[in-house]
Amino acid sequence: MAEITLQDIIKPENLVYKKTDLMTDKPLSYCPGCGHGTAHRITMEVIEELNLAEDTIGVAPVGCSVLAYEFMNVDMTQAAHGRAPAVATGIKRVWPNKVVFTYQGDGDLAAIGTSETIHACNRGENIVIIFINNGIYGMTGGQMAPTTLPGMKSSTSPYGRDVAMMGNPLKMTELVAQLPGTYFVTRQAVHTPAAVRKAKKAIKKAFENQRDCKPGLSFIEIVSNCNSGWKMTPTDANKWMEENMFPFYPMGDIKVDGQLVK
């Protein structure tokens, strides 16, 4: 029997998975086990599947995903901390036929950018916001975020978040769902294959909404882990997320086609 070579293995007919061309070849800078890579990939897959790449402009935040523009192979603008929804508004208003999305973390979107987020949602900007909530400031080294759970430890809440002193975690997704300008609001996760499939479906719906000029903003929260910030192994972090984050940030659609469903 002839020896099987690498060339035999990588024949096109053996192909079971191919990275979308809308992800660059640059190795991701994210920690192993982090949800950002998956969230990037499914976002880009959706844009590819909907054939929107040539008309898409993305906005990267400040946070771990500040370098999203290094990985997402579409035209991208890097925004100041928290300002992505305003930057996206500017782009969409002068290019109403383009597809515009922001990709933001919880510190960016729910703390410093609360105003821009709420007002972009309330104006009903026809954009997509992808909001990664891992309950912590990852890039700066694990400080408390607006979404950090009560009692949860971080480098600025080393004894756990004391809500009497530090205030309560903010449920931005429930909040923006109440605004008349949002059209589709959902909370998803990307820690299991089933969750990824659901999340990708939701992202697809969001981009379809924009493509079809549905009235309002589509807002997708992805609850994710930060295993290095949480100081856990990736598997423990996912388990902890299911047991602690999901009860506080429940999965599923909150608003669909402009109607509250929860």
């Binding site: 906005v59 991208m76 890097q78 305003a86 930057v87 500017g90 782009i91 208003r93 383009k98």
Partner: protein, 361 residues
Amino acid sequence: MGELKLMKGNEALAEAAIRAGADAYFGYPITPQSEVIEYLMAEKPHERTGMVVLQAESEIAAINMVYGAAGAGKKVMTSSSSPGISLKQEGISYIAGAELPCLYVNVVRGGPGLGTIQPSQADYFQSTKGGGHGDYRQIVLAPASVQEMSDFVKEGFDLAFKYRIPVLILSDGVIGQMMEKVELFDPIPRWTDEEAIANSPWATTGKKNGTERRIITSLDLDSHKMEEHNIKLQEKYKEITKNEVRYELIDCDDAEYIFVAYGSSARIAQKAVQLARAKGIKAGLFRLITLFPFPTVKMREMCGKGIKGFLAVEMSAGQMVEDVMLAVRGCAKVEHFGRYGGIVHTPEEVLAALEQKIIGG
């Protein structure tokens, strides 16, 4: 000859934005420049030219909308007054870092803090020395009339795109609020989408198949690359300093004493020149039109030609005077005069200051 109108500076500026073919204005109300967004909203530019006008939730949001739209290759602007301009500084630093063309306007009021709504020129340092963080410059145009409030919009956009740089129109409450005769320039059509893409191939307008994607960013974690980027910026600023200095000399030919002023102070100083000449004092006015680039070379050159002293006249505690001193470098006497905190100096006060501080001093 273009259409003649009696307009407030703020209104002329707004009308000029429509006529200059601006694609969007993003703003937030603040006295004394709210007429800009009010005029634009009333004029329905979306019907006249397709121009977008949006009242943002804050000055911060407005400048970031400018950042996004400028990065997408469109002709966009914002305006505000001093406290609001302070809020915009983060965005302006990003715009300078990412080398985006845009126009913004500061109708200056007295400070610091919430200050007063009355006219001031106390934002000179902020405007010319980099109000936000980092080593950057911007072109600063100082209108001294309602006519220039209109003309500098067109010129400002041209310079912004020529150099991919933020251009600031530094006005003040006097120029913004007063009415004068203005000859409006003929409307320039807005760029079509195809023209916008062709004019700014670097802009994020959607990555076409087989082309490189465009990235608008001011970030580079590699310090060597960041230094290279900074060197490139500095080269650009040198080029601008070489090419774009603008000023006006009034009665300077035989002058022994020179007022140096810009904006409304230049108008007041011009009257002081008349008062001085009536008294037999040979005074002239060096009116700055660009504050950056500063006319250092010309001012230095004038020094040796019988000029006995320069009086920097500005509605501040003494900011522009430092640039006059740097230009003159000790070859003639330089003093400062200005009222501040919202008080506008009078021509008589300006002349008295010349007599006391320069002639008699």
